[in-house]
Symmetry: D2
Subunit: 433 residues, 4 copies
Amino acid sequence: MSLIQDLPIDSLDSTHAKEWLRAYQRVRAATETICAPLHKEDYMVQSMPDVSPPKWHIAHVSWFFEAFILKLFHPSYQILDPAYDYLFNSYYVTHGTPFARPDRGMISRPTVDEVYRFRAHIDRAIEELLNDLPQEHVQEILRRMELGLHHEQQHQELLFMDIKHILAQNPLCPAYRDDLAPRPVHGVGELGWHAYPAGVRHIGHDEADKGFVYDNEMGRHLQFVEAFQLADRPVTNGEFMEFIQAGGYDKPDYWLSDGWATVKAEGWNSPLYWVKRDGVWHHYTLGGLVPVDMNAPVCHVSFYEADAYAQWAGERLPTEAEWETVARDLLMQGNFAEQDHLQPIAAVPSAEAPRQMFGDVWEWTGSAYRPYPGFRKLPGSLGEYNGKFMSGQMVLRGGCCATPKDHMRATYRNFFPPHARWAFSGFRLAKES
Amino acid sequence: MSLIQDLPIDSLDSTHAKEWLRAYQRVRAATETICAPLHKEDYMVQSMPDVSPPKWHIAHVSWFFEAFILKLFHPSYQILDPAYDYLFNSYYVTHGTPFARPDRGMISRPTVDEVYRFRAHIDRAIEELLNDLPQEHVQEILRRMELGLHHEQQHQELLFMDIKHILAQNPLCPAYRDDLAPRPVHGVGELGWHAYPAGVRHIGHDEADKGFVYDNEMGRHLQFVEAFQLADRPVTNGEFMEFIQAGGYDKPDYWLSDGWATVKAEGWNSPLYWVKRDGVWHHYTLGGLVPVDMNAPVCHVSFYEADAYAQWAGERLPTEAEWETVARDLLMQGNFAEQDHLQPIAAVPSAEAPRQMFGDVWEWTGSAYRPYPGFRKLPGSLGEYNGKFMSGQMVLRGGCCATPKDHMRATYRNFFPPHARWAFSGFRLAKES
Amino acid sequence: MSLIQDLPIDSLDSTHAKEWLRAYQRVRAATETICAPLHKEDYMVQSMPDVSPPKWHIAHVSWFFEAFILKLFHPSYQILDPAYDYLFNSYYVTHGTPFARPDRGMISRPTVDEVYRFRAHIDRAIEELLNDLPQEHVQEILRRMELGLHHEQQHQELLFMDIKHILAQNPLCPAYRDDLAPRPVHGVGELGWHAYPAGVRHIGHDEADKGFVYDNEMGRHLQFVEAFQLADRPVTNGEFMEFIQAGGYDKPDYWLSDGWATVKAEGWNSPLYWVKRDGVWHHYTLGGLVPVDMNAPVCHVSFYEADAYAQWAGERLPTEAEWETVARDLLMQGNFAEQDHLQPIAAVPSAEAPRQMFGDVWEWTGSAYRPYPGFRKLPGSLGEYNGKFMSGQMVLRGGCCATPKDHMRATYRNFFPPHARWAFSGFRLAKES
Amino acid sequence: MSLIQDLPIDSLDSTHAKEWLRAYQRVRAATETICAPLHKEDYMVQSMPDVSPPKWHIAHVSWFFEAFILKLFHPSYQILDPAYDYLFNSYYVTHGTPFARPDRGMISRPTVDEVYRFRAHIDRAIEELLNDLPQEHVQEILRRMELGLHHEQQHQELLFMDIKHILAQNPLCPAYRDDLAPRPVHGVGELGWHAYPAGVRHIGHDEADKGFVYDNEMGRHLQFVEAFQLADRPVTNGEFMEFIQAGGYDKPDYWLSDGWATVKAEGWNSPLYWVKRDGVWHHYTLGGLVPVDMNAPVCHVSFYEADAYAQWAGERLPTEAEWETVARDLLMQGNFAEQDHLQPIAAVPSAEAPRQMFGDVWEWTGSAYRPYPGFRKLPGSLGEYNGKFMSGQMVLRGGCCATPKDHMRATYRNFFPPHARWAFSGFRLAKES
């Protein structure tokens, strides 16, 4: 069941307020479901500066609705605590100086219970607002509702990423849940290739298409894409193991200079969360510590590792234009958060089309994250949503096993610095035709 | 009412096991009372590497009894979870590699409830052991019980220090408790001096005295102490304010070289926890943010600040031998944790003897923390208790408003690095006669 | 007079060995001319890890000929000192572990005189080799000679950059030379724009063209370039001053997130080398400290500053494809090292075509430095020349006032991290048509 | 031949100006002799922040005479360059903000030649001043001359230390000199002990004694010293090797907590400058890389290593009072800089008194560097000479093979942080009687 994108294309008027309220309630409930297995203690941990305590996520996504909708458009909105505006702003510096990100784990008050009260307070106010929409602002309010819901879905994936990272610090390796969907066990076969001809392609969101997109996907434009071939599935754990066994982490030959420096500085010798127990490679998953499934896509690798593997294999990563050209014609289905594996799984053999383009793992592309031609960021503080991160990061495509399915689309541009590994990130090979 | 030191001097035999159990229960209950106002979220925070999450303290002091008594002497002790031995060892490297100190805030499991279950498990086992003492180990067990209780009292003070530091990170400035004992309001008068003659003095614990001491107080020895004068009370907030207003933090003239470098690097311009609100100096206390009491001893200053003040005032800090020479003849009374101020208070005017030698604030001395002649550390892991910290630290004397009263004595040697400020540390001046 | 590119296109055979020798001697002499004004003490300084001591440059460019030509192809080559291979390898890790880059300033021996003796030793051996070319390796040797000469020209520019940075550390602001060519003094007029239509363009080196290129320029391919406008000259110091006065360095609004973090961490409030004296902005140049020329292109700005200025001005930086599309049709002339200004100068007014595309300042583009389609790095250690730096860097185009003119061409791709400022880097605006 | 201390005790009047000039010339010439083997390149290196480039030493010791004597007392002194006052001030912050210490290696101008011209300029002015002493300031000038000469002697030892550290960075291991005095080769015999009774001792400089002392030696006072035994020679390389072979660097048991952290962080497994070549321990000396002499005192160890060895051996380090009590009665002779070994040598067997108390190696004591009772620092900037370093450092006694002999005396207090190893520092054991 889809949460948001089943809203009608003309839903930005007040006659659809009820549908918006239902969508809002579904998304908000999903966030709380994700946090249900947590203890209050889990809510407090910030395991590295990039990770936020779950309590902070819970509060921040609520703050987003308060700061960008309720304060501006709710005629009688009462703030619960003025300090929250400072504590739960993430990075909107034009909105005010945010509380220092690396210190989010220092803040024990408001407590988890208080944060949930804040959350309920926001929910009531949003319900009031949607039940009595100020006519002159309907479109702007609903546009911001839409952004707020997609924002919250992004944080749902971040919650999975952060909870995994938090629990993984613990030498007890506690499972987040014991009842995750069991992973299918089957082989994936040899890597195959699909070939695509050269040509000028449309890249970016087509404004004729219905549905929400972020500002960074807009600005549909032409790109000339040379002929290329794309692997029919991501690289698996088994294949990546061959790279490890071939000394991939020991030889600088395959690595970007910054990548090799990172390998040395961090002591990397496997993907994140891998650990050898009694001679067998295990990895920590949201279901606990388990042996690595050699047929599943490799996950929690950095761009540096993806690129080094491709160099070693004599191939390369696809560009985001290549990826989008292929993905645009595929059905949007795969192993998403709804499948409840919360871990990539072995691909079902098939020769028809590239498999696992959506879901399972975010796929590192060879493209740096830069604006599309004619990129215009949103006005005001919301303009900080995407644009200001357009340096030092690489694009990933396709969503992963922790992404809500209806958050994904072929034009979606995710991005992380090349050393980041705590996202569910893998990769797929490409080569010239 | 005293907790431990009212035990009879010959209490290290099995006929006193009941008294030991009562002492144990009193000390353990005091720790839990200190934590009673905390939320589970507060238990999780590590606000700097020197601070431990309260949950960790609660577990560690229990681990101490398990590691050093129960595992060795309880004939049928069952460990609750083998991982705890790794997680809750503080720094006893000869016992095993401890979990990295700066990461204590990363560990959400065991939860607070589970840690209290661990605590209860230890309490039951200790009770069993004391009720049926193995005759051949009675002295060793009771000696270690005694050490374990003093160890737990040290952590009681650390809990106050750490809780204060944790809550102070929060821009909401939450109070730890709203019902602390009100501070007396009165002046303290001009600083007076008491003079002491030169002579050879006994320093360190006299083994003829009853009562527990740490290894670092033993090795009673002779020191020649030149004639000196000692201030009749610690320096007050009001006096320290004059130093601030005279540009004390702006001029290198008064500072040790390392101290001045710290002032610049940390941007210090007042004691820790001080903040100006609407032009008035306030400071964060365990009762919340309040205006600074100009008659109370200045607190939360580093050795560098104490020394710089003394230089500015044309005086110096006393040596620990001078301090002990004076303190030995005074009654052990003062503003301790039992007074429930949890903040230093203005001294009661009196010309008879130096005031506030005990309690209120730990007093920085001018003595580096080094072993007494003939110092012998305890054998085994317990030898790590004190001896290995005897470099890079300065001695403080007298206890403070967060110290349990019966934990204190005239020979007690506390120590911190010269830059540390999160202890309740102040100072008293001395000068030549 | 051109140094290298006047070699005939078919010069990679042994009949042209004499011409190669002359080219070699000209390039090598130019390096020594650059260093002539230096004292031995200047040769030793490493003012930051990115900077190398001039002594090291002098040795390293000689090492390049030894490691990649003489050792392999000179039939009787005698190495002077085996340690030099370790000391003067820059970053070719597949050749051997290089001496740690940040420690280059620690090495006083070999002395400057000894390094020049090493240089002369290499020169003699190269002369011997070119006078008696082993027939079976002629093409490979001359191809590597060509690369070696371009490599040395790159280091000529690096020498200017590094010497400037080294002398700028000195509070005495010593001039590198007192006899630089005087800068022309005239206005540059309002900023104008040239418009270019959309279309599919060839990007990268055309193999039909004669002349040397680096591997990163090869792989000529098609790109679709949307219609755009390009500023007719770089942004000037005067225009950049307006940005400063408008609070450009004080407001996060215009900055990339990483850029703003850098501004705060580094305390930037002007381009590198700028300093206010008696209320007037001066900047350090190779001729000493002088008032800023408001008509000259702004120089020594990072990509972050270039991008922030463009955001503030409501424009953007050009892509490298846009830049190359325009530059390909222009004459390769400008203010290069040969003009002996060693500082950007005011553009000569002209409406015909974009001015100063070549020379004066390297122009930051909006393009991340990534491989062209089909990029293949050179085999062996020489493959480390460019490819391994293709992450975390931005492309700059056009050369600068410190670049040897015949080192430059329209397809040349220079690259630096977005925070780097010690290159002679400026920028030019672009916008949509 | 003694340089300074053979001045008559009543030499602080103008009739002795000629003798002062001769002493000045001898000390200044000695500094230049030390630097004679250096290349200009060697003069430039700062191998770590604690090390200063030799060029800086040469200039700084001259600056000392300018800043504290010539500017104040020479009636017509002309400064050579006002910038030198900023560049060559070491740490006298009350004199003005000094140039940042870690950046001393960045300053290539003034050149070595110019610095020697500055030096000659100072020498001429001092000669003028001493030839025509202003009568009203004779005592103050000569007192400062005396301090200036002792200051320069301290820098002579620092020059040896720094030159050694600088050349040791170079993988070529260049020798400072090839013609050092050959070391004697003989055994030292088993370690013996001398016993001393308890009693009240005078510690510090006796003002009745003639001769110069620093402010930190003054304030003669009484200390009660318990009975003790002192080893009859320092610990040798051979003995220290046993500690290494017994796993001394691998077990935390013997180490202070800060010491163990340093061992781990720095990867220490032997004294500084030790390296294994073909299975044999060598160490870098000012004469180049040579096998370790097992009979010579161990050198270039930190306080942490000295203390760990003592713990391992079941002994301890002496206090500075114990050391001084013994040394006061011994002849001031030993292996000093004048012996021209510039490396500690095997002790000559003798049972009469502790050997090598003076010279060879500075001996770490167990005493923290703190002021003596009644310590008063000099007024003005000269008060920064010693006093401000009295935290975080340990006292060393006795001088070393790089100390000018007439710079040494029994009351001399040297000091370094407990982790420092680049001084010629060793140690001697003590124990209770």
